[in-house]
């Protein structure tokens, strides 16, 4: 939930956790770790250690963290993933290949620093690289490897154009040939994430169309799929909540309203909506907390003014 939840954490830490948790689903691992895009492996590792001092679950052993426990867990695991991915050259390369936008950002930052950077590749590294290429060439599965590479590069092209379902098809082909291929596997994960985002958007669109046709049943199903595929799709969550409310399912409506607020904590309209649903369900204390938070964010917001009177008596 949010800052007002009564747990064994001070407000600053709560804010930090909320802010970072909102970024968990984002694809930019550099940003998540709080380092410049393209930061070196050492910088990444140092940032990870520093973040651990704040966000390692052990720091809060035996404490009552309420909903923050799950967030903290999620954050730490994502930090581990970011560190593991960006401090290992191979994994980093795969990740960048699957996320062209991040690569572009990384290029931009490192290029500005290029003048200060010593020659990055040493002779031994060059030697090792060429040795690796030779070793690969001797490998009996070379033919297989070439085929996998072809599928991979096709998949990458599609990723570049954000055509995830096509990318998945190519990656599936590659996985058929070589189920243990690390890059294929890693890319599959990234692509699935992208595909989820796209799916969430398109389901949302279908839902709106269905609503226009008056098919609420179908719209509701599509909306839930949209929220499921991307919990941060706050538009879909909010819409689901409104629809459920209209259909008289207040309890479920509140749970989706909560999702909308979690995905977009600073959206006043969502908050007021949640507060109203909670109030109607008799959960006055929680309703008050959310309304207060809405007032805190923007006291002049029309929604706040509109419902203020009705909600004040708490």
């Amino acid at each position: 939930m949010a800052v007002e939840e009564k747990v064994d954490l001070d407000d600053v830490r709560k804010e930090e956790i909320l802010a970072l948790d909102a970024k968990v689903a984002s694809n930019n691992l550099f940003e998540f770790l709080g380092v410049p895009s393209g930061a070196s492996a050492d910088e990444v590792r140092a940032a990870f250690r520093e973040a651990s001092r704040k966000f390692h679950p052990d720091k809060y052993f035996g404490k009552n963290l309420g909903s923050f426990r799950g967030k903290l867990d999620r954050i730490f695991k994502r930090l581990v993933e970011a560190n593991q991915t960006l401090s290992d050259p191979e994994k980093r390369e795969v990740y960048l290949a699957a996320n062209p936008f991040v690569r572009a950002a990384a290029r931009a930052t490192t290029n500005t620093n290029a003048a200060f950077k010593p020659e990055a590749r040493t002779e031994t590294e060059e030697a090792r690289d060429s040795e690796r290429r030779q070793r690969l060439a001797r490998h009996p599965y070379l033919a297989k490897a070439t085929k996998v590479q072809e599928y991979l590069s096709k998949a990458k092209e599609h990723v570049g154009r954000q055509e995830y379902s096509q990318a998945v098809t190519h990656l599936n082909n590659a996985a058929q040939i070589d189920p243990l291929h690390a890059e294929v596997k890693a890319m599959m994960i990234e692509v699935r994430k992208g595909a989820d985002l796209v799916r969430s958007e398109s389901s949302f669109k279908h839902a709106l169309e269905a609503l226009n046709r008056g098919d609420e049943e179908l719209a509701l199903q599509a909306l839930k799929t949209a929220v499921n595929a991307n919990p941060l799709n706050f538009k879909a969550a909010h819409k689901t909540s409104m629809l459920l409310e209209r259909r008289g399912d207040a309890r479920e409506a509140a749970s989706f309203a909560l999702k909308a607020v979690e995905a977009a904590p600073r959206n006043v309209e969502f908050r007021v909506h949640l507060a109203r649903l909670l109030g109607e369900a008799g959960m006055k204390a929680m309703a008050k907390k959310h309304f207060d938070e809405a007032v805190r964010i923007d006291p002049d917001h029309p929604e706040v003014k509109k419902h203020g009177k009705k909600l004040w008596p708490f």
């Binding site: 250690r49 001092r53 189920p179 243990l180 499921n228």
Partner: protein, 612 residues
């Protein structure tokens, strides 16, 4: 004095176990009631039917070989049918039987014991030692395991803690614990290596310490490489020679085997200081066809010992090379090299380590006690807000699932910081398929059956759909203790999928429950007795405290009427306490505790007001 609840750290070793705590800000080993810091991890069933644990069990081993269990840590959490087990079983004087799901049972008398029960007995003894030290019940503990222990071995160790009546706060890795103790109270920045060669296992870990963060970079080891193997090498040598000379296989005779083992270890330890030693085992065997008893008498030199165990020492160095490579660290990059485990007292081991790491190992670390001290430090860090220590440990072995063709798909590579989780998507491969079976494996081989099978998970109740249409997210999670769990949900509907787990090796949930219940019955009686015991300890420490305060108070009150009165009452209370202590009646004891607690606070109050 409102004291915090005591927490302890336990090093549950193959050969020795140690319990420690943090007191007044410093870690210290709790001396056992038998007067020693190390407790042998030995359990025995005495002729009288009583279970013995520790020193007393070790002492009677030679006369009671079949009913004395040592090195049980080598068996915990393992499968009966595994290759390593079958090998190991050949050299054990006590009796091993397969359990119901390929787990291992030890037979003592006419009863079978699971490994967690046996380790539980050792832990229980340490718990009692700690309670004697604190004069009150102790529940919360951290228990250490070799870094290279897999999920099953960790789970079983945790079960052992629960059976001993402990609340296991955490399972942590031995080398990491050692590093914590080493780094305690120092401001260290840099990379270190911990080389831990104990009685049963070998661990090597490389970590970086900075600002109170202990970040494990890589870890490796072998859970079947330790002092036991050095002893076995000596036993083999002694037995082979004897067989050549007399045509008798000593190892078949359990009594002789136990004596050989004893002598081998003793000789090995002596050779750490002496250049040669005598092995003397009179009447080791009587020829079957009659004739006079045979004696075994041999000289073992340090050179010979080193020759017999050269491959073992080499193996430790090979593993060091491997782990340093994985950590991308060269020996010169290391700031310090820490030796842990009794076997590192062997000169040959020290020389090899020195040669490989090109430095002298860190002085001032007690190889047998440092792990328990570190566990205590971590227990304190977890329960004490003020602590600045963060442990970033890793999973020692890769986690994967079996895929078509008998291969493995690796999901979480080894040396990944924990806690961590990864989501893998599984598809149905047939139309209207309602179940998917997932085999979870731990290990480094690409071939499925060469890894350790952690368990089989069956996803059930999948919705009916065309093949490939049902996509299930399966979330694999490794927690801070290195324990693995699995959850699943349908990607399309978000619905949680139920998972069925088939345990292998360890105790099932039901078995654990049953053990705990059986124990609860037995313990109902025992508990009252136990409670009296701990209360009596509490009473005793209060009596001491009052005794210490009395002369101070006498001096402070200078024979005033009030003082005389108070002292008189205190004397009476002490006498009553003494009688209560002897009576062993719970009510009397607790009453006395109340009286004495009041006396202590009164005395302290007076002394404080007078300004002493």
């Amino acid at each position: 004095m409102a004291e915090r609840e005591p927490v302890i750290g336990i090093d549950l070793g193959t050969t020795n176990s140690v319990v420690a705590t943090v007191q007044s800000g410093a870690p210290l080993v709790i001396r056992g009631r038998s007067g020693s810091n190390l407790m042998p991890s030995v359990i025995a069933l005495a002729r009288s039917g009583k279970l013995l644990v520790g020193q007393i069990a070790k002492r009677q081993a030679i006369t009671n070989p079949t009913d004395t269990v040592y090195a049980s840590k080598r068996l915990i959490g393992r499968k009966f049918s595994s290759q390593q087990m079958q090998e190991a079983l050949k050299g054990l004087p006590y009796v091993i039987e397969p359990g119901e799901h390929d787990d291992i049972k030890v037979k003592l008398g006419d009863k079978q014991y699971s490994l967690p029960e046996l380790s539980g007995l050792v832990l229980r003894e340490l718990k009692l030692d700690a309670e004697a030290h604190f004069g009150r019940t102790v529940k919360k503990a951290i228990i250490t395991v070799p870094a290279y222990f897999n999920d099953g071995q960790r789970q079983a160790t945790k079960d052992a803690g629960r059976i001993a009546g402990l609340e296991v706060l955490r399972i942590i890795n031995e080398p990491t614990a050692a590093a914590l103790a080493y780094g305690f109270g120092k401001n260290i920045n840099g990379k270190i290596a911990v080389f831990d060669l104990g009685g049963g296992t070998f661990d090597i870990s490389v970590m970086e310490i900075g600002n109170g963060v202990f970040d494990v970079i890589a870890t490796g080891g072998d859970t079947f490489l330790g002092g036991e193997d050095f002893d076995n090498a000596v036993i083999e040598w002694l037995a082979a020679d004897f067989e050549k000379e007399h045509g008798i296989t000593l190892k078949k005779d359990r009594m002789a085997l136990q004596r050989l083992k004893d002598a081998a270890e003793k000789a090995k330890i002596e050779l750490s200081t002496a250049r040669e030693t005598q092995v003397n085992l009179p009447f080791i065997s009587t020829p079957t066809g009659g004739g006079s008893a045979l004696h075994l008498q041999k000289t073992l030199t340090r050179d010979k010992l080193e020759q017999l165990t050269a491959t073992l020492v080499e193996r430790t160095i090979t593993l060091c090379e491997q782990v340093l490579t994985e950590a991308k660290v060269k020996p010169v990059d290391l700031r310090e090299m820490i030796l842990v485990g009794g076997m590192t007292r062997m000169p040959r081991v020290q020389e090899s380590v020195k040669a490989y790491f090109r430095r002298d190992p860190c002085k001032g670390v007690h190889p047998e006690e440092v792990v328990a001290l570190g566990a205590a430090v971590q227990a304190e860090a977890l329960t004490n807000e003020a602590s600045d220590v963060v442990l970033l440990d890793v999973t020692p072995q890769s986690l994967g699932v079996a895929i078509a063709g008998g291969y493995v798909r690796r999901l979480i590579p080894k040396n990944t910081t924990v806690p961590t989780s990864v989501t893998e998507v599984f598809n149905t491969s047939r139309d209207n398929q309602t179940t998917v079976k997932i085999m979870v494996l731990q290990g480094e081989s690409d071939v499925a059956h060469q890894n350790e099978l952690l368990g089989e998970f069956i996803l059930t109740g999948l919705r009916l759909a065309k093949r490939g249409e049902v996509e299930i997210d399966v979330i694999f999670d490794i927690n801070s203790e290195g324990l693995v769990s699995v959850a699943a949900r349908d990607r399309e509907t978000g619905q949680q999928q139920s998972i069925q787990v088939t345990a292998s090796g360890g105790l099932t949930q039901d078995e654990l429950k049953k053990i705990l219940e059986d124990q609860a019955d037995l313990m109902l009686e025992a508990r009252v007795e136990e409670e009296v015991k701990t209360k009596r300890l509490e009473l005793k420490s209060l009596m001491n405290e009052v005794g210490e305060l009395m002369p101070q108070l006498q001096q402070a009150t200078q024979g005033s009427e009030f003082g005389q009165d108070a002292l008189g009452k205190a004397l009476k209370a002490l006498e009553q306490a003494r009688l209560a202590g002897e009576s062993a009646e719970l009510k009397k004891v607790t009453d006395s505790i109340d009286t004495l607690t009041r006396t202590v606070s009164l005395f302290r109050g007076v002394l404080q007001r007078i300004g002493r």
